[in-house]
């Protein structure tokens, strides 16, 4: 991006200064920018928040004339967007005359975007000459697999496609896919194409190097995750390959937009479905883009944790009054409906944790001045704010070191599952895990040809509502099937003969025996998060009904619950009151809340961020956020942080809204097929490896008991009673 703007400025020899400022900007340049701001400053929401937290923020921003937000849509309904909106509200106070401009190529309703972005009015400008991107689905002679996401079957065809292009980007959905595809492409690389890999776990230096080589034409292909999605923009790319389902139309457009980035020329893309279901999803995306039917935007109330961070930042910039700060915050769209009472609670939280029953005033972060304003107790505390800014919380990461070289970072959760000697793919190399020394992962090179794949948790988005309806449309219009590859057509026809195809009109359920278990498969098309919630709730309900459920697996499209007995009445299982009867109880002990609490605790400033290389292991672990969560829930169940975690859960991981919509829509319209064996559409679900086995405390007890008895039995000793 910097390059794209700097080039015309330099070419025209314009008398303007242009600089960037991000988390990577060296401190001497930051200092210079602070004292002598450039004409153009390109920055991030995090760095903006940082600039706003300095005491000189009012004078620094007083001359601001224009504020341009690129890729505006990426900020809707996200915590990063909440942070940005608060920054904008602040800027509005400091520079009320500044003009705001928002840019986006993938918004379906600009009017709703305007509401988010503009205080009053606001003009919508549309570009007229939109060129339809040229999107194909990869033609392959090979069999598209039933399940999996690694695209092994398509690698040869992908290689042919990239060898014919000038510069291609191969986008994948997860870091594990990136590693796999990158390595396999090199295996096939007879033409010695210059192929590189780019994902968020690689060391920053390595990523920069790839970006620079790409810009200077020294690469033929880059395999990348969303780490390369935004902010970079190259006209030289003439082909984008999307491996795996796009999950959303706007997201796909965003990626395709990388190629031939000139308005008058269509960009070219190839979609590579990694399994049969994804083929349908790719088809749906193709037709939605042709019809310019973009994903809807959902707006949510802003997170309290982000607001807490913002208030801390404001305090760092100098004394403030609660009344005027509250008014200012209401002008940020996600916080327009914030209640004063809630604001006061969050303010208390920033001050001292906001505990009703206990406080330690000597440690308060904020103090009230006699004139009624509030200020930071000790200006040294600003350091804590500045070290922990931002809304993106990675799971604890560890540095990967090959001799003394930094290769990047990897999730701690992945490493703890390895034993020394295990191999894994990282940056395209197969590495041997040797040891953990001073919280660093020590590795060496391996000559092995197979490796365990790093299973990073990130990058899994649920299927958008828009796209799921489009898939169902395809299934319903069997006259369109004739253009499909034979293997897909046969699969759908077989499903139609043996059972029923999923539809918009009814909720299709199948029950069949398979390997001494009964499977209940429900085709909700509600996205993986809503399906996961449904799975947990069904486990409870089926347990109560005495059919002994054992577990479930789910995808974006469907869920399968298996049990020792068949369910008696499927219609009864799926009534909308599922969300009332089982939900409250389940919500309180779902592990998902704890997972979210970890993030909220960091964002809100309750605890400090873990930094790569500073990860504490073993005895050094200072405290566990899970234990904090338990203690807090017991003593202050209405604490502001628990409230924000519940809100987050409902909209994200739990996706309660979408599940409720699905159950209500199909209430009384459930069609259950009792089959004598597995149906063609259920195969992918049953084959799927990632299954949810929810582990609860009492369950752990019974598992430990079994383990102990087995060990004793093996040792030929009577079990302990």
């Amino acid at each position: 991006m910097h390059r794209n703007i700097a080039t015309p400025i330099e070419a025209l020899n314009l008398p303007v200064t242009f600089e960037t400022r991000t988390g990577d900007t060296p401190s001497h340049r930051r200092k210079r920018q602070q004292n002598n701001p450039p004409d153009f400053l390109m920055t991030t929401p995090e760095s903006l928040a940082l600039l706003l937290s300095y005491e000189n923020a009012p004078s620094f921003f007083s001359g601001l004339k224009y504020l341009i937000i690129d890729e505006l849509h990426t900020f809707f309904g996200t915590k990063r967007g909440d942070l940005l909106s608060l920054g904008l509200a602040r800027l509005d106070t400091l520079a009320p005359k500044a003009v705001r401009l928002g840019l986006s190529a993938t918004i379906n309703k600009p009017e709703s975007a305007r509401e988010w972005f503009c205080r009053t009015g606001g003009r919508i400008v549309r570009t007229s000459n939109y060129t339809h991107p040229n999107i194909e689905i990869l033609c392959t002679e090979k069999t598209i697999p039933w399940s999996g996401h690694m695209a092994r079957h398509a690698l040869n065809d992908i290689y042919v496609a990239i060898s014919e292009a000038r510069l291609s980007l191969v986008f994948v959905n997860t870091r594990a896919q990136a590693e796999f595809v990158f390595k396999e492409l090199w295996h096939l690389n007879k033409l010695n194409l210059r192929i590189a890999v780019h994902h968020g776990s690689l060391d920053r230096q390595l990523r920069r190097k790839v970006e620079a080589r790409m810009a200077s034409g020294k690469l033929d292909c880059v395999v990348a995750t969303s780490s390369l999605d935004l902010g970079l923009d190259w006209a030289k790319v003439d082909l984008v390959i999307q491996v795996g389902a796009p999950k959303g139309v706007s997201r796909l457009l965003q990626r395709i937009g990388r190629s031939n980035h000139r308005l008058e020329e269509p960009s070219r893309a190839i979609l590579v479905p990694t399994n049969k279901f994804e083929y349908l999803e790719c088809l749906a995306a193709q037709s939605e883009i042709a019809n310019q039917n973009l994903d809807g935007v959902t707006f949510y109330p802003g997170g309290y944790d982000v607001l807490a961070q913002h208030i801390f930042g404001i305090a760092c910039s100098g004394p403030f009054r609660a009344d005027s700060l509250f008014k200012e915050i209401l002008t940020a769209a996600p916080y327009a409906d914030l209640k004063r009472e809630t604001f006061d609670k969050i303010l208390e939280f920033v001050k001292n944790g906001g505990y009703v029953l206990k406080e330690y005033p000597q440690y308060n972060r904020l103090v009230n001045l006699r004139d009624g304003s509030i200020k930071l107790r000790d200006s040294q505390m600003a350091r804590q704010y500045r070290m922990n800014i931002g809304t993106i919380v990675d799971s604890p990461m560890m540095k990967v070191k090959l001799r003394n070289r930094n290769l990047g970072t990897i999730e701690e959760n992945f490493i703890v599952n390895l034993t020394p000697g295990d191999t894994f793919l990282f940056g395209g190399k197969i590495l041997v895990f040797d040891d953990i020394v001073n919280a660093d992962v020590i590795v060496s090179r391996s000559s092995a040809s197979e490796a365990k794949i790093p299973s990073y948790s990130g990058g899994r988005l649920p299927l958008s509502t828009n796209l799921s309806f489009a898939v169902l449309d395809i299934l319903e219009n069997d006259n369109t099937w004739k253009s499909f590859p034979k293997q897909i057509r046969e699969w759908l026809t077989l499903q139609k003969d043996r059972s029923t195809l999923p539809t918009n009109k009814n909720l299709i359920v199948e029950v069949f025996p398979h390997r001494e278990r009964y499977h209940t498969v429900i085709y909700t098309f509600a996205g993986r998060n809503a399906n996961q919630t449904l799975g947990f709730l069904l486990l409870r309900r089926m347990k109560r009904e005495g059919v002994f459920p054992l577990g479930f697996s789910m995808s974006d499209y469907a869920i399968s619950v298996w049990s020792t007995k068949p369910p008696t009445n499927v219609e009864q299982l799926l009534t909308p009151d599922l969300l009332l009867d089982e939900f409250e109880e389940w919500l309180e002990d779902t592990p998902l809340l704890k997972r979210l609490f970890r993030d909220a605790a960091v964002i809100s400033g309750l605890i400090e961020r873990n930094r790569p290389g500073k990860v504490k292991t073993g005895r050094q672990v200072l405290f566990s956020t899970d234990l904090i969560f338990d203690v807090l829930r017991k003593h202050e169940p209405d604490h502001i942080l628990l409230q924000t975690v519940r809100h987050d859960a409902m909209r994200g991981l739990i996706d309660a809204g979408r599940l409720a919509d699905t159950l209500h829509n199909f209430n009384g319209r459930i069609k259950c097929n009792w089959l004598d064996r597995i149906s063609p559409m259920a195969v992918p679900l049953i084959l799927q490896i990632t299954r949810e086995n929810s582990i609860k405390l009492d369950l752990a007890d019974s598992l430990l008991e079994n383990l102990e008895n087995e060990i004793l039995k093996a040792a030929n000793v009577e079990p302990y009673n």
Binding site: K358, Y360, Y363, V621, I628, L632, E636, H639, L704, L707
Partner: protein, 224 residues
Amino acid sequence: MSNRTIDFAGRKMILHPSGSIFWPDQATLIVGDLHFEKASSFHSSGQFLPPYDSGETLKKLETVMSEFFPRRLILLGDVFHDNAAWHRMAQNDQKHLAKLLEGRETIYVNGNHDRKVTLPSQFSGLMYTLSGVTFRHMMDTNEQGPEISAHFHPIAIVKYRGIRIRRACFVHKKNRLLLPAFGALTGGLDVNDPALKTFQDLGTQLYLLGNKAIFNIPREFAEK
């Protein structure tokens, strides 16, 4: 609650799922690493952890004591998270603690976190001996006789049918017995950590704290 009785150097000891030990012959309850006021110790660094851990730990202690009615209570060190913790403790928590200690012999073995704290107790020091068993906060690897200690907050991870289960545990090898941490907000150290290498050979038994029971797993079954 389902306890587990073990033979420790010829003495009968009852392991309790709370992470405490009751020695019936001596009517003695042993707890370690309570870490009172751990949460509030972070407040000075601007990390306002919910300051309810002391109350939680006290409640747990009260429950165990009402099960065994010990005549003697051995507090095996790191009772307080730091030397100033007593002063930060809320008054009702202070009173609660005093009430629990009332009418019984209290043995306060100091730990590394609370070396300078004194409590109204019959004994206070770094080492205590009772009926041939030595009590220390941190084990002394030169000790030959039976020794019960705490300090390491041992935890073990076992894998069963593909599910990882992480639990605090007692560690027992011949003359040596380690207690898990008792406090509500205490982390853990994996039994495979080099700091616990004394226990990394065959013959070490782990007693994992379940929800309602204790489970005996040989050390070699703990995941590394």
